[in-house]
Symmetry: C2
Subunit: 136 residues, 2 copies
């Protein structure tokens, strides 16, 4: 179980279109090997947004604060093989900022961590609704 | 800026109705003095859910893992006066578990932390869309 947080500062494009942010989040999910389940985009005026992408493996959130050239990114996944720091590159390319605070937050895992093979096997049975409930 | 995480274990009711979880999340937001903006509930089969409540001040997420009697709660808010550990009591009451891992994750704040008075003043002008963009 990985909960990685990234604070991105000096963003030249923290005011990016929320739809473009969501597109980059989908690319991030793809790089993580995760399965997307639902999304919500909440734009703020005059700019900025909070965007959430719910995964079979948990979720990704991005909040932007254009007046402060700041973005907060959270990547929370039960895939033990994920590399969030690389997977968020599409977001960093879009926001054009630098990660100045990154942490891996220890979370209580639901049983043992899932290997890529175990998760792929689970997903391959076309029962995506079961992906959160693998045996521990 | 507060990002508090709580892992709740030994939950007797981690399989609570996702709508009931969302109701408890709204109560938590109310206790925090936060303004709700959007919500998404993603149920999983045979049970469990990921629920997200987007706030003017950031967001609350809850993911449940009934087979493991486990729930992950995140409370992320720019209200400097919030007490998430008390505010999540409606969720703890519903899930009937114990917080066995709690952390305050340092995040880069968007300018200075907001006092309760400053935020109330901002909200009182009936421009909730501006609440994310107070001067730092």
């Amino acid at each position: 179980m990985i909960h990685a947080i990234f604070d991105v500062t000096g963003c030249q494009h923290a005011d990016a279109d929320p739809e473009a942010i969501m597109t980059a989040m989908h690319h991030t999910a793809g790089r993580l090997g995760c399965t997307t389940r639902a999304q919500v985009i909440e734009p703020f005026q005059p700019h900025g947004a909070t965007c959430v992408l719910i995964l079979a493996e948990s979720h990704i959130t991005v909040s932007t604060w254009p007046e402060h050239h700041l973005a907060h990114i959270d990547v929370f996944t039960c895939r033990a093989d994920s590399e969030p720091s690389q997977a968020i590159q599409p977001l960093l390319d879009l926001l054009a900022g630098q990660v100045t605070n990154t942490q891996h937050v220890p979370r209580t895992p639901p049983g043992s961590l899932l290997s890529s093979e175990a998760l792929d096997e689970c997903l391959a049975d076309e029962s995506p609704l079961q992906t959160k409930y693998l045996p521990g």
